[in-house]
């Protein structure tokens, strides 16, 4: 059997790169937040240290097999999402399995992890976890709707559900979908705020209120795996948005620039806003983002 080495390379390196970029973004976020709050802030590699520390914890507890598997679900979802997104446009190495899936699949695989985590959190029996899950799922319903509207608008406009086809359409920066379908972008980016879970939509983990919510019983390697998954997932989502709206990237430098700019939107919003309550955030997602979503679809239809 002939082994496609470039594919193997991609499979091995994509998660690693995603993790490194994602974790660095996490550290930078903390740094930027600190600078905005007139603090010095931790070094950019702080999150790596945190994750290493968590993995090196010598004792771990779980409340049962679902809690044990919860983070595994999460990282499965993250890595699978990543594998089905073309990270670098037209690259034989970093497109991975993106020809075997499409946007609808990505929509669903993206919730796979949160549901798995929710199951894990549920088994701990900690009321805070359950409250967090309840809030998280409610909010999920909130932001998925405008997000899907944006995606539907785009899918209909370009008559495809495949990310690679969308990338092929955006061969020049004037043809980026952000310019071709600005309302879809608005709806999607507002939904993206909810997806990333920064303030004002951080009611799910709300550390001072419900003791970090779903992961409140997770420590040590479980928390480490969760953070790893989160780093990868952040990167995957950023790449997805870049691919859909910003024309993807031919090389890593462009990719990093685009994703970083995109990433700063939720981060900077998060720093200046207080927290929404659950129903407030749902109502928010069902007001302006929904309006933009409808507008986007109407523009496409007529």
């Amino acid at each position: 059997m002939e082994i496609n080495w470039s594919a193997v390379l991609g499979i091995v390196f994509t998660p690693v790169i995603a993790f490194l970029v994602g974790v660095t973004y996490g550290g930078l976020t903390r740094r930027i937040t600190a600078r905005i709050q007139n603090r010095f802030g931790p070094p950019f590699y702080q999150n790596i240290l945190d994750i290493i520390k968590l993995y090196s914890k010598e004792s771990n507890i779980n409340h049962g097999v679902m809690q044990h598997l919860g983070p595994v679900f999460a990282i499965t979802a993250s890595v699978t999402t990543l594998f089905f997104i073309p990270v670098i446009k037209d690259s034989p190495v970093f497109t991975n399995f993106s020809f075997n899936g499409d946007l609808i699949f990505l929509l669903y695989i993206m919730v796979f992890g949160s549901l798995g985590m929710a199951l894990g959190a549920g088994q701990t029996g900690n009321p805070n976890s359950a409250i967090g899950v309840s809030r998280g799922l409610s909010q999920l319903v909130g932001y998925e709707v405008p997000f899907v509207m944006a995606l539907v608008a785009i899918m209909v406009q370009f008559q495809t559900t495949s990310l690679n086809d969308l990338l092929a359409v955006q061969d020049h920066f004037t043809k980026w979908i952000i310019f071709q379908s600005p309302f879809a972008f608005l709806a999607a980016i507002l939904a993206f705020l909810g997806m990333m879970g920064y303030a004002p939509f951080d009611v799910v983990i709300a550390p001072a209120e419900i003791a970090s919510g779903p992961p409140s019983e997770f420590g040590g390697k479980y928390l480490g795996l969760m953070l790893t998954s989160r780093s990868i997932f952040t990167f995957a989502k950023l790449v997805l948005f870049t691919d859909i709206f910003l024309g993807g990237a031919h090389d890593f430098i462009t990719l990093i620039i685009k994703t970083f700019i995109l990433y700063m939107i939720p981060v900077l919003t998060g720093i200046v806003f207080p927290r929404f309550r659950t129903e407030q955030s749902i109502r928010f997602f069902w007001s302006w983002p929904l309006f933009f979503g409808i507008l986007a679809i109407l523009v496409v239809v007529f």
Binding site: Q37, D50, S216, L223
Partner: protein, 181 residues
């Protein structure tokens, strides 16, 4: 290149480096000392630059910070919180009250010496210790960690019976779940 021992040494160094620079604190705001923590964490003193940050639950935390005096009633909770933390874990006694009872030295209901009940790694003296002192205490802890001397958890495990005896002595209605290592 390396033999096993050296390799594990390097791993230890990395581990300790990470542990040292990533101290997640569950701050048990028992006494008046808790008021010193906000300035420690926020802009003025910014403990986060040393990798110190608050943690919401003991499951995720590395450091148990006892901020001030401990009443008997609170001790029970503190012990449980400590036992729920994952190893390696450290305890910092904060303020004079944790060392010798401080101004509550003759109170009937207060714990005088914390290290009879929990293995304290670092004490921070003062009533109140200023944020600078707190940070200095943390840096002392980091130093101990990198030297591998912050072995409070190990001590607690090894001398569990002694600690239990002391704990039972003050806590009259002892209804704690057994600590299964």
């Amino acid at each position: 290149m390396f033999n096993d021992k050296e390799a594990s040494k390097i791993v230890d160094i990395i581990k300790n480096f990470a542990r040292k620079h990533s101290l997640w604190v569950v701050a048990y705001g028992t006494g008046c000392g808790a008021i010193e923590l906000p300035p420690t964490m926020t802009s003025r003193y910014d403990a986060e630059r040393f990798g110190i940050r608050g943690s919401a639950t003991p499951r995720q935390a590395d450091v148990l910070l006892i901020t001030g005096y401990l009443s008997v009633k609170t001790l029970k909770r503190v012990i449980r919180t400590y036992e729920q933390m994952q190893e390696p874990k450290y305890v910092i006694g904060f303020g004079s009250c944790t060392i010798n009872g401080g101004m509550y030295w003759d109170s009937y209901n207060t714990i005088k010496a914390l290290d009879r009940y929990l293995p304290v790694d670092v004490y921070i003296n003062g009533c109140m210790p200023r944020p600078e002192a707190v940070i200095s205490g943390f840096i002392k802890l980091q130093q101990l960690i990198s030297e591998g001397k912050a072995d409070g958890a190990k001590r607690y495990r090894e001398n569990l019976e002694w600690y239990r005896e002391n704990q039972r002595k003050v806590i009259k209605n002892w209804r704690m779940p057994e600590y299964n290592w």
